[in-house]
């Protein structure tokens, strides 16, 4: 309703303006001194400021249409783990997150050791804690939580690698677990 009223007022004023072109005397009754004009200018600039602000806050809002052409994407098992592993960085240390990743790998490692080494769960846990389950020093250190038993050169290389040590050790551990699990079938 206000929209209509302002539109109507705009049209009337435009008409008055047009009439004033032909009959300039129409506008003589309007106040035209400096102060009024300055105030008018100020109000217009304020209006401009408001509109600029509105424009800055707003972005185009078009209706989004769905990607109807593609089929539903299904996950591949393990994608969730990858996502969690990727968020590991050197700079932001998140103990809980690291622990949950370690627990996940450990669970599978224990099941694999029980199956392949024919040992009990406790024995498997001990093997993991002592790092005797694999020859890969990085994989072993993932569970022992001690520096990998390898040459100084390899350790320095790990230090300067772009992937965080935790991530690298996790990847080694997973690779070793998989190698064990996929070994000759019994």
């Amino acid at each position: 309703m206000t929209r209509r009223l302002t539109a109507a007022a705009g049209v009337v004023l435009a008409l008055v303006g047009l009439v004033a072109l032909a009959v300039p005397s129409v506008t003589t009754t309007l106040p035209t001194d400096e102060t009024v004009v300055s105030i008018l200018g100020g109000v217009l600039l304020l209006g401009a400021a408001r509109e600029i602000q509105r424009r800055r806050d707003a972005s185009f809002e078009y209706a989004e249409t769905s990607d109807t052409e593609v089929t539903v994407e299904l996950p591949t098992p393990g994608d969730d783990f990858d996502r969690r592993l990727e968020t590991i960085t050197v700079t932001r240390y998140n103990q809980l997150q690291r622990q949950s990743i370690r627990d996940d790998v450990r669970e599978v490692a224990v099941a694999t050791l029980q199956r392949r080494e024919r040992c009990t769960e406790d024995e498997a846990q001990v093997m993991l804690d002592e790092g005797t389950w694999t020859d890969d020093p990085f994989a072993a250190s993932f569970f022992t939580r001690r520096p990998p038993k390898t040459s100084a050169r390899n350790r320095i290389r790990e230090l300067f690698s772009s992937t965080p040590p935790f991530q690298r050790r996790a990847v080694s551990a997973v690779r070793e677990v998989h190698r064990l699990a996929e070994g000759e079938d019994d």
């Binding site: 509109e51 809002e61 209706a63």
Partner: protein
């Protein structure tokens, strides 16, 4: 954005395989009458829509139509559409409702904020003009006022559309390419200066050729046709919706609609084929069949010799022995009996997995395996039933004969529970198991088809096995080893299958690279060795 896609716009409904011409409906007659030049003409300033925003193409939609921007798919579909499907669409259109009638499911009117900056420019030039008493600056604001009037003078139109849809083949084979042609007619009285249309392709189908959308301007009675191609897969799929966005001339206001159209269905039944013999456990019914048992009696495979008893059939007497020693002995054979098998397919949400972006997913492969197993078992004379471990469970009791076979085939192809898209509900497994075990006959064995995605599947298989229904697990492998997470998941699954094997279940690990027959043969070698 829709305008980035080059729409495959055809000129009129008149070309649409004659479907509209068959109908007596007003809307469609209007379409046929002036459809020919309708979309070529520029209806009421369609060139001034939001295409000025710089994000879309410079071309006027009507120009695109005029140029005959028809991709191969449109041509192809066009050729097909002249055939059976268009006929069918025509027949369909002669029902009670007017052809292509649509209902609005949802509607949303909103501002696009498209001309918001103009007001700022107008105020600024006017204000500065007044303060500096500069006439040119002040007059420049008039241009802005003009644009503001243009932007706000009109409201987004409320489109009234008639939609017809035709498919080249309503009963394709899996893997076939099916052309879909959608014709949208402006059945209302007003011009639609800026119309974007997106067809609802069923979730499980992928549009492989041409986008399922178009953008155009339509004056009353005019229509637009666009075509795309989908890749058919097992199941029944219904096309019954359309997303429409209609904007006013300036693009400042828009109306987003969800339309429900007349449904068009494609039903894709996989061909009948039975290729592999399914190795079964020794649990059988009392009826004669093909599973060799340990009990001696009638059969073909020699089992043992016993002393002749009065009444034994002459054909079973070992005459060689009689000739040698003069003793009468009766040969016994391994009895071959019929097995009762229930194929249980896992369709829990967790089973919807895919090894990489290409190829069929685990559930597709499970259902494919079920179909093949069912056909093979029926062919070898066993009684077979089908069940699903899903939120809405399906139970087809074991049976035999052509009717049963047809029922199950249809169920496997089109039942909504066996959908290629994951269910939203969860399964209460203990409750399900109770019902399932209650339904199983005492002599039934179970073939559990599942990717074994988690411990629950393992539990289900074990729970059935320990209740004296031997279980054979057929597990489509959907794991990969290209990332650490996937490698870990592969190791986990390998452990799960190993643990099932240790508990006495037969497990066939079905690699995506090999056929089911190969996997079964590998499994058989393992069990007989």
């Amino acid at each position: 954005m829709t305008e980035d896609d080059a729409p495959t716009v055809r000129r009129s409904a008149g070309e649409f395989g004659g479907a509209p011409a068959r109908s007596s409906d007003d809307v469609v007659e209007a379409t046929s009458a002036d459809g020919d030049d309708a979309s070529r003409d520029d209806p009421g300033g369609s060139d001034s829509g939001d295409r000025k925003d710089g994000s879309g193409s410079d071309q006027d939609p009507a120009d695109e139509t005029g140029n005959g921007a028809t991709g191969d798919s449109a041509e192809e579909a066009g050729d097909h559409a002249a055939g059976d499907s268009a006929e069918e669409a025509g027949d369909h259109a002669t029902g009670d409702r007017p052809a292509g009638a649509t209902t609005v499911e949802a509607s949303r009117l909103s501002s696009t904020d498209h001309w918001l900056g103009i007001a700022a420019v107008t105020f600024l030039t006017a204000g500065l003009g007044v303060l500096t008493q500069s006439r040119p600056l002040f007059l420049a604001a008039v241009v802005g006022v003009g644009y503001l009037a243009y932007a706000n003078a009109t409201e987004a139109p409320e489109p009234s559309l008639a939609v017809t849809r035709a498919v080249t083949d309503p009963n394709p084979e899996p893997g076939d390419r099916v052309g879909v042609r959608v014709t949208v007619t402006n059945a209302g009285d007003g011009v639609l200066p800026d119309l974007r249309i997106v067809d609802h392709v069923p979730d499980a189908l992928a549009a492989v050729d041409g986008p399922a959308r178009t953008a155009t301007a339509l004056r009353p009675g005019a229509s637009v046709t666009f075509a795309y191609t989908v890749l058919a897969r097992r199941g029944e799929f219904t096309f019954d919706g359309l997303d429409v966005v209609a904007r006013n001339v300036s693009g400042s206001r828009e109306r987003a609609l969800e339309l429900r159209t007349e449904p068009t269905t494609i039903t894709c039944l996989p061909p009948l084929d039975a290729t592999e013999t399914v190795p079964l456990h020794g649990l059988t019914s009392p009826y004669t069949g093909r599973v060799s048992t340990d009990s001696a009696g009638e059969g073909v495979e020699f089992a043992s010799l016993r002393e002749y008893q009065h009444g034994d059939a002459l054909s079973r007497i070992d005459w060689n022995r009689y000739a040698r020693d003069g003793d009468l002995a009766t040969m016994e054979f391994r009895e071959e009996r019929m097995a009762t098998v229930v194929v249980l397919v896992e369709l829990r949400k967790a089973a919807y997995l895919q090894a990489g972006p290409d190829g069929p997913h685990a559930v597709d492969r499970s259902i494919e395996a079920t179909r093949r197993l069912f056909n093979s078992l029926i062919d070898t004379g066993d009684r077979v039933g089908v069940a699903t471990l899903a939120p809405d469970d399906v139970w087809q009791a074991p049976g035999a004969g052509p009717t049963h076979q047809a029922e199950v085939r249809n169920l496997l192809a089109t039942h909504p529970t066996l959908s290629p898209t994951p269910p939203s509900d969860r399964v209460y497994v203990p409750g399900y198991l109770r019902t399932f075990l209650h339904r199983l006959a005492d002599d039934a064995q179970v073939v559990f088809v599942s990717p074994v995605p988690d411990r629950t599947s393992e539990y289900v298989a074990r729970a059935i096995h320990v209740r004296d229904h031997p279980v054979t697990v057929i597990s489509p492998d959907s794991t990969r080893t290209d990332t650490p997470g996937r490698t870990l998941a592969a190791a986990e699954r390998s452990n799960r299958l190993a643990s099932l094997r240790e508990s006495g279940l037969r497990v066939v690990d079905w690699d995506p690279e090999e056929s089911l027959a190969e996997a079964l043969a590998r499994g058989r070698r393992r069990w007989s060795g």
